[in-house]
Symmetry: D2
Subunit: 203 residues, 4 copies
C-alpha cells in the first residue's frame, strides 16, 4: 500500500513510518495516489474549560476537524475514480471516550472525527474502502502521573499506537475490520482505578 | 423555572411549551434570565452521502452546532453570574447513536452536541448546572415506514419527547440526573428488528 | 398501575413506594396482577477480585440475576395472558457502566441484567411492554469519599433514583421510552474528575 | 507464546491455529503452561424468545459463561504463580453489541463474557496480563442474507477473525492494548443499512 500520514503528533508519525515501512508499505506522493491514510487531529493541546471557549479556540478545533474530514473525503474520491480499494485509520485522543474536566474541545473534536469515521465506514464500505478508529493512549509529553490510572501502569510508547495503525491498514490482517474503534490505552478507558473499589474502599 | 427553547423542530417546541407550562414553568425573556434551556440542532435535513458533503453543507452543520454550543455556554455564564443553578437539555436526532447511509452530517452534528453536553455536565455540574441529552425518536415528517424498525411499532409523538425534556428540566424529578443520555425512541437503537433473528432467520 | 418491587435495596424500595403512591399507583398482590415491575439485583456487596471469585460468590451472583430475569419473564407472561400492556424498570449499580478494581461480580451481574432488559425491550415492545434500565448512583452506605468523583459533588438520595423509576413507569410520561438506559449518577459515569484534566494537570 | 483455544467454533479454532502457528506461537499442553488464551462461548445457537427461555436454556447459557470465566481465572492464577505475563482474547458473537429479536441468551452470554473481560483487564493488567475482546462477525453457517446488512457486503471468513485474535495475542503488536473491544464485523454494528437513510428514504 502507498500511505499518507496527516496531522499526527510527530512522534507518532515517525513510529507509523517505521511500522508501515517494515510491513512493506511506502509513502505516497499525495492523496491522489495513496491507498491508505492515517489521519489525526494534531497536537492535543485544546484543553480548556467550556466556559472559556472563545472564537479562536472554536475556529482552531473546527479547522482541525475539517482538515481531517477533507482528507478522508478526498482520498475516497480519488480511490473511487481510480476504481481502487483502500483503508483509512482515524486517530483520536482518549477524551473522545470519556469527558474529563476542562478537556472540552479535545473531546468534541474527537467525537467529531470518530463519528465521521463511522459514517465513512458505512458510506464507503460498499466501495471497498474500510475506515476505522484508533484511540491513542496517553503518550509523552502527557504527565507521567497519568500512568497511575492505567491498569498496565505506564504511558504508551508511540510504536505501540503505530502498530495498531499498521494492523488496521493491512489488507492481510484487517480485511473485515470496518467501522471499528480500537483503544490502545492500556485499559485506561474501562477503569476507574484511581478510586479503588467504590464498594469496599470506605469499609 | 424560566426556560428557553432554541433550535427545536416547531412541533417539538410547541409540545415542550405545553409540557413545561403545565408543570408550572414559564418562558424566559432571554438566556440572561433563564434557569433552563432545551436546545436542538434544527431541522433534520442534513442527510447526504459523505462524498457529497460540500462547503455549504459543512458550514450549515457547523453553524448549527455552534449556535447550540453558544447557547449552553452563554446560559452557564449568566447562571454563574447570578449565582443560580440551572438545567440544560440537549436534543439530538437518532443518528447520533448509530450511523446510517447518507446521514453523514446529521450524525456528526449529533455527536458534536452530545459530546458538548457531556463535557458541560462535567465542567458545570460542580456549579449546580446539570446538562443532559435527549435522543428524540423518529417523528413525522419522518417516513412512516421507519415504524417497522421500532419495537413499539410506531413513530414518536412530539409530546412524548417533550415529556422527557420536562422530566430532565424538573429539579424535583431529575435533581441527580447529570451527564445522562435518555433515548426516547421506542427501542429503535437497541434493535435490528428489520433483519429478524440473524441466528435463526435463515433456518 | 399496580406495581411490584423486587430485590431493591430497602431504602430504594421505600422511596419507590413513596414516589409511586404519590403518582397514584398502588402495590400489586403479586406479579400475576401487576402492570409494572421495578427489579434490582439486591445488595451491592459482591465486590471481589476476579482471582478470588469462588463457587459461592458465583452461585450468589447467578442466583440474583436469575431471580431478576425470572421476574421480568413471568410478568411478561402474565401480561400477555391478560392481554395487558405493562412497564418494567431494571435497576443496576454503577459498575455496570465501567469496570473498577475488585468489583468483578457486581459489574457482571449488572451487565447481565441490563442486557436482559435490552433484549426484553426488543422482544416485548411489540406486545406493549416497555422495558428500561436505571443506573442507580452511589447512595449511602457507599463511602462518602465517592462524592469527590461525582460532578454534582454528593451521593444520591434514594428518592432521586426512585423518581427516575417513577418516570419510567408512568405511561403518561414515558410512553415512548423503551430499551433506554437512564443514569441517575450525578455525572459520575462521564467523568474522570479525580484525575483532573489529563492534558494540563502536569503543566 | 504457548496458547490454548477454548470453546471456539471449529472453523475459527482451525483458523486461529493457522494464524498463531504462522506467527511462531505453539499450542500449550494445558492452561498451566500457557501464556495466551483465546476463549469463546461455543456454538451460536442460543437464540430464543425471552418468553421461551426455560430451565435448560438458562443452564446451558450459564454453563458456557462459567466455563469461559473459569478458563480466564485459572490461566491468570497459573501465570501469577509462574510470575509470567500473558494475553487473553475473549471472542463473542455480534449480538453482544445490539439486541435483535429472539437472540436473548446469546446476547446475555456475550454481555456476560465481555464484562468479565473488562473486569479482568482492570484486575489483571497490573500483573502483566492483558485481556481483550474480539466481536466475531457473522460467518457461515449464518444465513447468507445477513451480508446485506454489512457495509462490506459479505460474511466474515474465519481467518479474518483469527487474524484479529493473533494481533491481540502478539506482544509485539498489541502490548499496550488492554480492555479493548475490537469488532471484526465489516461495519455491521455501526450501520442500519437495511433501512437506507431514514431521513430521505421516504422522500
Amino acid at each position: 500500500m502507498r500511505y499518507r500520514l496527516i496531522s499526527l503528533h510527530p512522534a507518532l508519525a515517525q513510529a507509523c513510518d517505521a511500522r508501515l515501512s517494515s510491513a512493506g508499505h511506502e509513502p505516497a506522493g499525495g492523496l491522489g495516489d495513496a491507498d491508505a491514510l492515517v489521519v489525526g487531529i494534531g497536537a492535543p493541546d485544546l484543553g480548556s474549560a467550556l466556559l472559556d471557549v472563545d472564537e479562536r479556540a472554536w475556529e482552531e478545533t473546527i479547522g482541525r476537524a475539517r482538515t481531517a474530514f477533507a482528507a478522508v473525503r478526498d482520498l475516497a474520491r480519488a480511490l473511487i475514480e481510480r476504481e481502487a480499494s483502500g483503508r483509512v485509520v482515524v486517530v483520536v485522543d482518549p477524551p473522545v471516550l470519556r469527558a474529563a474536566e476542562r478537556t472540552g474541545l479535545t473531546a468534541v473534536a474527537g467525537a467529531f472525527l470518530s463519528t465521521i469515521a463511522e459514517v465513512a465506514a458505512v458510506d464507503l464500505g460498499p466501495r471497498g474502502i474500510a475506515v476505522n478508529v484508533v484511540v491513542a493512549g496517553w503518550m509523552a509529553p502527557a504527565p507521567p502521573a497519568l500512568a497511575g490510572g492505567v491498569p498496565l501502569g505506564r504511558l504508551a510508547d508511540p510504536d505501540e499506537v503505530a502498530s495498531a495503525c499498521a494492523f488496521l491498514v493491512s489488507p492481510d490482517q484487517a480485511a473485515y475490520v470496518n467501522g471499528a474503534t480500537l483503544a490502545v490505552d492500556g485499559g485506561w478507558f474501562v477503569t476507574k482505578a484511581e478510586g479503588g473499589n467504590p464498594l469496599t474502599s470506605g469499609a
